[in-house]
Every structure is written in C-alpha cells, then in structure tokens.
C-alpha cells in the first residue's frame, strides 16, 4: 500500500510513542504549539469582548420590531404578486436582461484575458497586464462600481450591465487562468507537434481540456450575476432592486415577500439547470 508523505509525517516519532505508552489517549490539538494556542485564544477573547462592548443595540427598538418581523414572516404565506404586478414583472425582466447581456459580454471578454493570465501559455508582459485587470476587477465591489458608473453613465440598466460585465471578467478570468495552468501539457504539446498554428493549438490543445469547467463556471457566474442584479437597483442601476427597495420603504411586506420568493425560485431554477448541464458536459 502506498502511503502519502504527510501521512508518514503525521505519525508520532519513536520517543513520542514511548511517552504515550501507558497514558490515557488524548485528542490531538488542532493547533499544536501551546503558546500560539493560548495567544490566539486570549487575543480572540479580548477582541470579542471589545467588539461586543462597542456594538450599540437599542433593545427596545428591536423588541418593537419583533412584531413587524413577524408580520414579514407571515407575509411569506400570503405573498402579493398582483397589486404591483406590472412593476415586479418589469423589474424582473430588466434584471434577467441585464444578467443575460452582462454574462455574454463578460464571458466573451474574460476568455482572452483568462488566456493571457495563464502563466504557461502567455509571455510575461501579457501575463502581468491581464493579472492586473483581474486584480482590479476583483478588488472593487459590485455596488461601488455601480455607484460610480451610475454617476458617469446616468440611471438605467446600462450602468448595471457594465457593472456586472466588469465583475464577471475578474471572477471568470481568474478561475479560467487557474484551470489552464493546471491542464495537462502532454495533449497541448501533441497538437503543437503536428505543426499547428497558435490559434489551432489553443483550439485543439487547450480548449477541449478546459471547456467543461468553463461551461460550469459560466453558468455559476450567470447565477451570481442574477443575484447581484437584484441589488443594483438600490443605487439606480436598473433591475428589481428599485421595486424591492420601494416595497420595503412603504412597508408593503407582501409585495416584498413576492419579489423575494421570485428571486429564490429563479436562483433555484438556475442551480437546477447548471446541475443538469454540468452533468452533461463532464
């Protein structure tokens, strides 16, 4: 039987075994060094006390709110899809439209950037530029990007579409690049040995290896884009968020519950779809 290296390392040494002999067995500690364990424990305790002390909770306000909270929970049993039906329909359609366009454009842009950000197939200058783009896109929050883009491009779904495309690039390029870096060189080299051009090499040597993962990730990102599109409306970037915000502001919990139920159902549908498609491509 072959034993992996770390298994061998985890076995106690001879002297340790001798020490353990005749003693009661004790569970091995998660953090082995005892000073580090104590330091982390005490530090965490001090931090927790300080944190909890500084959180101001207005308990009477919370207590008052429990009633409203219960009203909201009970609204889920009687969601109101009708009285704001046209607003909900329009907002949902806009969210879905933003999701589709942003996913298509984002994926189309992130494929070349993902190729560039893989160290094993791209030269260093291209690699650095593409990794830089990925880092910027990942560091900026969607909602902050949306605020800036709304300020620049005006209210409406265009700002939301640009925000989601931008966020898609960071997510997908990074994961695609990691997938390409982990691919098998052998197949790619075999294609190259036939005298294939660079494009043919990518198309027949690299693409078939990463395609299942790319499809899975694209659908996953589409799912994320839909969930994110639900909040972009809060800052005026289009989608269902604006309707949802209005519903909360007017304490129309039955409408809010209807919107939330719709979001959950659509996300579940996406998840089911992605499960089916991933099972087929893998």
């Amino acid at each position: 039987m072959v034993m992996s290296v770390d298994h061998v390392q985890n076995l106690p040494s001879h002297s340790e075994l001798k020490y353990m002999l005749g003693r009661r067995w004790r569970k091995p500690r998660f953090i082995k060094r005892s000073w580090l364990r104590w330091l982390l424990g005490v530090g965490a305790l001090i931090y927790l006390i300080a944190a909890v002390m500084t959180v101001e909770v207005n308990w009477s306000r919370v207590y008052e709110g429990l009633d409203r909270g219960w009203k909201f929970v009970s609204a889920f049993t009687s969601p109101d899809f009708v009285s704001r039906g046209s607003d909900i329909w329009e907002g949902m359609l806009e969210s879905l439209i933003m999701t589709v366009t942003a996913s298509v454009v984002g994926i189309a842009i992130s494929i070349p950037i993902g190729l560039g950000a893989a160290r094993n197939i791209s030269p260093l200058p291209v690699y650095l530029i593409c990794r830089g783009i990925v880092a910027i896109s990942r560091a900026l929050q969607e909602i902050i990007v949306a605020i800036l883009l709304v300020a620049i491009f005006g209210f409406g779904p265009l700002a939301g579409f640009l925000t989601l495309s931008f966020a898609t690039i960071g997510f997908l390029s990074k994961l695609l690049a990691e997938e390409i870096e982990a691919m098998s060189r052998v197949q790619a080299e075999a294609v190259r040995a036939t005298g294939a051009s660079w494009l043919q090499w990518i198309n027949y040597g690299v693409q078939p290896q990463v395609m299942p993962r790319l499809i899975g990730l694209s659908i996953y990102r589409m799912d994320i884009n839909f969930r994110e599109s639900a909040i972009l409306g809060l800052v005026g970037a289009g989608g269902i968020g604006a309707t949802l915000n209005t519903a909360f502001d007017r304490y129309e919990y039955d409408t809010a519950a209807a919107i939330l139920i719709l979001i959950i159902v659509i996300v579940m549908a996406f998840e089911y779809l992605s499960g089916v498609i991933r099972a087929r491509v893998q």
Binding site: G69, M98, V100, V104, I143, I144, P157, I231, D249
Partner: protein, 271 residues
C-alpha cells in the same frame, strides 16, 4: 467517427450534418436572445448621457483628486464597526451553519425525507438573497445600526457556510466513522471522534473564506444604513464631497486587500 465524402476523398468531421445544423440553430437562437436583450437595454438608456460620459468621468476625477487625507481621522470608528460586523456576523453564522449542515448532509441527517429538505430550503433561501437586501429588511424591522448589519451578514453567511460544510461532510471517509462505530461509541461520540476531525480543516477554511467575503460586503452595508464605513460613503456621496469619497474608496480597497491577505495566510497555515 463521422466522415465526409468530397470528390472521392474521405475527410474527418466532428459532427454529423444534423447535429451541426442543430448546433447552428442553437447559436442563432442565442444570438437572437442576446440582441433582443441588448435592444431592451438600449431602449431604456439615455444615449446623450453615454456620449457625454468621458467628460463627466474626467470632471469627477478632477473633483475627487487629491483625496481629503485629514478626513481619515473620522474613519477609525467606522472601520472598527465594519470589522466587527464582518467578524461577529461570521461567528454567529457559523453557530447556525454547523447544525444546519449536519442536518443537510445525506450521511448525518436524522431524516432524509423530512428534515433534509427543510435544511436545504434554509440554505437556498439564505444564499439566494444578497446581504444588502437582508440589511434592508432588517433595518425595516429592527431599525438602522450596526446590529442590523451583523444580523444581515450572519443570515447571508449561514447558507454559504452550511452548503460548503455539508458538501465536505458528505465527502468524508466512511471507514474512519465505521472504525469509531465498531468501538461501541454513541451517536455523539461518533460525531466528535469520527466526523468532526475529518471536516475540521474544511471548516476552518470555509470560516476564513467567508470572513474575507464578509469584510467586502460589510464595507457597503452602510449604503442602506446598516453601519460601518458605508454610512460615511453614502453621506459623502449625498453631499457630492468627492475628495472624501475617493479617500473612503481607498480605505475600503485597503481593507479588502488586507482581509484577503490575512485570509490567504491563515488558509495557507491550515491546509
């Protein structure tokens, strides 16, 4: 293998004619859908603003630089609040996520027919709704403030942590569990000695990973009034104080990068 006969020569093809046509039809429908969606976006866009965008962007940039550095003195408390929202929210979420994960995992759930679907429903509803929406809801219920932010982060994180954790539980090595069962251990002893040690590294990794995400999310929770540095951001945006906005954005960026660095270090130490 599919071949095509052309002038008496057999050549290789990837698909049959029917399948190729079907593929093209699929692409056609996809492109049509995309064009329809794009037209919808285009119709609800004021294109004048878009053509004007470079000038506006330049204008905002000139207003926002240089950042108002002295404002940083007022950001200490909001940053502390943001950190607390992320950390306490993650801790509370973990307390709830662990039992939910054990109820949802196929090999530990007490009843696959009744309890597992409920646990999965909790996970999916918590995951589908963004923390900003949870914050909106909680502010309407318990009023604005840090507490609403903590609760929003906690509720959003339960589903995420529970999902990853129950997948880890389902992937454990059953032989170790069997070995513990064979010693005559009780149900809880099997949990503690057979399952928990196996999922502990995954658990720690998930916790740190989610903490990193929560740092990002808690920076913007203030936009809807749930405490943290986002409150300052939205106040500055409302009065168009662009030098303050740029400083706050820089601070948020630094916090996010720092959070990612810390979590990468911890994960590196665990795994």
């Amino acid at each position: 293998m599919v071949t095509l006969q052309k002038e008496g020569v057999m050549s290789w093809r990837r698909r049959t004619t029917g399948r190729a046509l079907l593929g093209w039809f699929g692409w056609l429908m996809g492109v049509a859908l995309f064009m329809y969606c794009w037209q919808q976006i285009s119709a609800s866009t004021t294109w004048f603003f878009v053509w004007d965008a470079p000038r506006v962007a330049e204008d905002i940039w000139s207003r926002a630089t240089p950042p108002r550095w002295e404002y940083i003195a007022k950001l200490g408390r909001p940053i502390w609040d943001t950190l607390n929202i992320a950390t306490l929210g993650t801790l509370i979420a973990l307390c709830f996520a662990v039992p939910v994960a054990f109820l949802a995992a196929r090999n530990t759930t007490p009843s696959a027919l009744f309890i597992r679907p409920i646990a999965l429903l909790i996970i999916v509803s918590s995951r589908s709704i963004n923390s900003l929406i949870w914050a909106l809801l909680l502010i309407a219920i318990i009023g604005p403030g840090v507490f609403a932010g903590i609760a929003a982060i906690a509720i959003r994180s339960i589903g995420f942590c529970a999902k990853l954790l129950y997948e880890a539980i389902e992937e454990i090595d059953e032989t170790q569990v069997e070995a513990i069962v064979a010693t005559g251990a009780s149900r809880w002893q099997v949990m503690a000695y057979g399952i928990v040690p196996q999922i502990m590294p995954a658990f720690a990794g998930i916790a740190v990973f989610r903490w990193d995400i929560n740092i990002r999310e808690s920076t913007v929770l203030g936009l809807v009034g749930a405490g943290g540095i986002g409150l300052q951001l939205s106040a500055s945006l409302n009065v168009l104080a662009w030098p303050q906005v740029s400083l706050i954005l820089l601070v948020i960026l630094a916090a996010v990068v720092l959070g990612e660095w810390v979590s990468a270090k911890i994960r590196g130490a665990i795994i």
